[in-house]
């Protein structure tokens, strides 16, 4: 072993050991837990149960309700987030006066913590909050946005769109900048209008970025958690219970850590599939000239 190789070991050891303990081990341990019964207050009673946890998942009505809520959340937010982010990116890219200011202002919510965003919106949605105050001015009766079963999840979804668009706008802006000017110049010579250029040039050129944004937004939406903790804790009537909130409740309230890990792995399997799609798209994106 040369001196340089020994130095290499010394340089990598601190991070690698920490990584092995707190990065790699939990992932493997999680798989082990998912085929066990494990209650942290009775560690001696832990035992191997094979695929029983996964079998239970198949017939667990509350779990499937959380899956339904989570899918509803994803399907109901992603089209809006994508469309609004695209609109914002196109507007900023049109280089109006002070476009730098607009870009910065639209991006601000991205750096504010989700806990704070959720607290502010919980107050906005409160019976005496801003939304009802504005509605009463135009003569509409206020609602208990986070307490009514049919309204709670859509209210959280609207907040999610508000909080997320800035980030996707930045990604799309990077994509717009990469489209060569000449493409537009020749279209203008041909007399193509604003709409024609958008549909026939901009969106096709942006396709890799758009697909990419949709996929990472899907991955994020399937993991909704913080909003639920702060705003509704899964209620009313489990109507805002998401998969990750159910995982948290199962593991840390009911102390069923084995079953909770099975929920985690089921979620992971889905996310893994989405990620595989994402990797293919990324490769595609690079080929186009990201």
């Amino acid at each position: 072993m040369g001196g340089r190789e020994r130095a290499g070991l010394l340089f990598t050891a601190p991070w690698l050991l920490t990584f092995a303990a707190f990065g790699l081990f939990p992932v493997l341990f999680s798989l082990g837990l998912s085929v066990s019964r494990f209650n942290p207050t009775h560690p001696d009673a832990a035992r191997w149960v094979g695929l029983a946890n996964y079998r239970e998942l198949l017939t667990d009505g509350t779990f499937w309700q959380s899956v339904g809520n989570t899918l509803f959340f994803a399907v109901g937010t992603i089209p809006f987030t994508t469309a609004i982010a695209l609109a914002m990116a196109l507007l900023v890219h049109a280089r109006p006066p002070a476009s730098g200011f607009f870009r910065t202002a639209l991006f601000v919510p991205t750096v504010v913590s989700l806990v704070v965003v959720s607290l502010v919106f919980r107050y906005i949605y409160a019976p005496t909050g801003m939304l009802n105050a504005i509605l009463s001015r135009v003569g509409v009766e206020g609602r208990a946005w986070l307490q009514e079963p049919d309204l709670a999840l859509p209210a959280i979804m609207a907040m999610d769109v508000w909080a997320a668009v800035g980030y996707y706008m930045i990604l799309m802006l990077a994509g717009l900048k990469a489209i060569p000017r000449e493409v537009y110049d020749s279209a203008e010579v041909d007399g193509a209008g604003w709409w024609t250029r958008l549909v026939h040039i901009t969106i096709p050129c942006l396709r890799p970025i758009l697909l990419f944004v949709i996929v990472i937004n899907t991955i994020r939406s399937l993991q909704v958690f913080v909003e639920i903790v702060v705003m509704t804790q899964g209620g009313p009537l489990n109507r805002t219970l998401t998969v990750v909130y159910y995982l948290y409740e199962t593991a840390f309230y009911k102390l069923r850590m084995g079953y909770g890990s099975a929920v985690a792995y089921a979620l992971f399997a889905v996310l893994f599939l989405v990620t595989l799609v994402q990797l293919r798209l990324l490769r595609f994106g690079r080929a186009v000239g990201d």
């Binding site: 001196g3 999680s30 502010v120 979620l267």
Partner: protein, 270 residues
């Protein structure tokens, strides 16, 4: 005409973006009596700092702030030193298996934090680290994205300077800290700033890995305050929220370019 439409649309989007944040600030400087009426007008007639005094003075908020600052400092420092050391080791020091290692590190980016929250909790309780600064820092020391970013940046730095220093008799530690670290400053800025933002705002791990009030970070403290109370003192809660956002906004306005490049790279983390 077209220009005016673009401007109008942007002004509309900026207003919808900023109104909730303005409402947060507005509610934090309102007196109690005005609060209950909950009017939609955004400018309070008699602004007061009583909620800020209450939050900073009487509650445990100052402690949350101290915890968040200490943890963020440790995590940023740890990531800057250890992530660049491991990236440098893999990129330059003829390590066997460094390619396999980088592939593993990249693979870890795809595993969501939620999958490991249960085993991490069990591991931390075996190590008696629940409710300690160890639990608040160690899981954040191994952000694979940071290693990847430094590794990628090192590919663009020619090794000539390092080799020249070695010929002059410099040891590997001197080469790394004196020659390499200054050369990779741009990527270290991206790593440091984004690690700070992610850590300052992080909720899930601090939430499940702490138990006592003294060990809460700002986001956990705010969230649990809003959960525990029968009637919430919204004025103080909004004041706490504003205070918690200040460090992030300062960093944001100073380093927007690095944040954007970090977020764009961070997209692969999903």
């Amino acid at each position: 005409m077209k220009r005016t439409l673009v401007l109008l649309a942007l002004v509309f989007f900026v207003l919808t973006t900023l109104v909730p944040l303005v409402w947060m600030v507005s509610m934090s400087v309102r007196g109690e009596a005005v609060l209950i009426r909950g009017l939609g007008d955004l400018i309070p007639s008699e602004p007061t700092l009583e909620h800020y005094r209450a939050v900073w003075g009487e509650s445990a908020f100052a402690r949350f702030f101290f915890n968040s600052a200490l943890v963020a400092g440790l995590v940023v420092g740890g990531n800057l030193v250890f992530a660049s050391m491991v990236a440098y080791g893999c990129a330059r020091l003829r390590m066997r298996g460094s390619r396999v290692l980088m592939a593993t590190v990249l693979g870890m980016l795809m595993i969501p934090k939620q999958v490991t929250m249960v085993p991490l909790y069990v591991l931390m309780s075996w190590l008696h680290l629940i409710d300690t600064y160890g639990a608040l820092t160690l899981p954040f020391m191994v952000d694979a994205l940071n290693v990847f970013l430094v590794y990628q940046f090192l590919q663009t730095v020619p090794p000539d300077l390092e080799d020249a220093a070695r010929i002059d008799g410099a040891g590997e530690a001197v080469v790394f800290f004196r020659i390499v670290m200054p050369l990779i400053k741009p990527v270290l800025a991206v790593v440091g700033i984004n690690t700070f933002l992610v850590n300052w705002n992080s909720f899930l791990y601090p939430f499940i890995l702490t138990a006592s009030e003294e060990m809460r970070t700002v986001p956990v403290g705010l969230a649990l305050y809003a959960q525990g109370q029968y009637s919430i003192d919204w004025g103080s809660l909004m004041a706490g929220s504003v205070l918690s956002v200040v460090p992030v906004l300062v960093v944001f306005f100073l380093f927007q370019r690095q944040i954007v490049s970090g977020l764009t790279a961070g997209a692969i983390r999903g």
